[in-house]
Amino acid sequence: MNCEGQWMTSAPPTRPNPGLFQRNPPIAGEAEAIAAAKLGDADAFAKLYNLHKRRVYTLCLRMLGNVSAAEDMTQNAFLHLFRKIGSFRGDSAFSTWLHRLTVNLVLMQLRKKGLNLVSLEETVNPSDEDTPKRDFGSRDPVLSGSLDRVALERAVATLPPGYRMVFVLHDVEGYEHNEIATLLDCSVGNSKSQLHKARLKLRELLCHPERAIQSPLISESVK
């Protein structure tokens, strides 16, 4: 299995994604821990786990929307890290590399389960029941005041998986549409369309929170 391979071999994004790198400054002691972990130092690996477990777990939780699946995937990601850390060359921040490795593992698992992450049909078929409906003839309810984190987390957790994936990757994690298109094996236009629908759906959910279905992510991750 070569999860990071997709990133290593695919064409680089047309423009660099400063967001991911700016958001991942070096962590004190991390470089030493990486070097030691490459030599098989168990304590160094434990340190890397402690430094990055929350970020990896949060990412898994947001993408999978399920605590148990997120824990399994966190375990999987760190086991994979242990086996592959020797191939980390330091071209990007370690957290960025680990983040991408995790995203690829999550997507791989979802594909194995047969989940069609981004359906082209969904884009061209407006009858999809999950597609947010807009009617410019009537006045839409609008969001009032600033959006709080808990409300947004709750709404994101109830998005359909395809919408959630694109929204988390683009708006939360800072991926570009061309990167998402590569990851999800869809067109750039499809990624833009899915993101727009995700935001429309979120607006609907935030204006009408009673329409959101309770998700395990809400009660266990949003505190």
Binding site: A46, K53, T74, F78, L147, L152, D171, V172, H196, K223
Partner: protein, 99 residues
């Protein structure tokens, strides 16, 4: 079908605006409300202006979700990792010995 490269912004209809909105967000660094080509249209169409404002607010709030939530994976996750690594190390050791 609307040609996204040949849009008459002065005579844009709300339905057309909705159609091109994903592209406007994607190409305008997420700041559709600041696009000078749309000032007149948004001023004349408060529903569309409200929609843009809300979608921008959602995108802005999403950036604040990057920081991990205040929860960690359970202790069992690390125990499982340690156990699996221990098994793998043992297996690798046996494999090396038998070579």
């Amino acid at each position: 079908m609307i040609d996204p490269f040949n849009i008459d912004f002065d005579n844009l209809k709300p339905e057309e605006f909705e159609h091109i909105l994903p592209e406007l967000f994607a190409t305008g660094e997420g700041k559709v409300s600041k696009d000078p080509r749309l000032h007149k249209f948004l001023a004349a169409n408060p529903d569309c202006a409200a929609l843009v404002s809300d979608l921008e607010a959602i995108a802005e709030a999403a950036r604040n979700l990057l920081e991990p939530v205040a929860v960690e994976p359970s202790e069992q996750v690390w125990l499982n990792i340690q156990s699996r690594l221990h098994e793998e190390t043992k297996l690798n050791g046996h494999a090396k010995k038998s070579e």
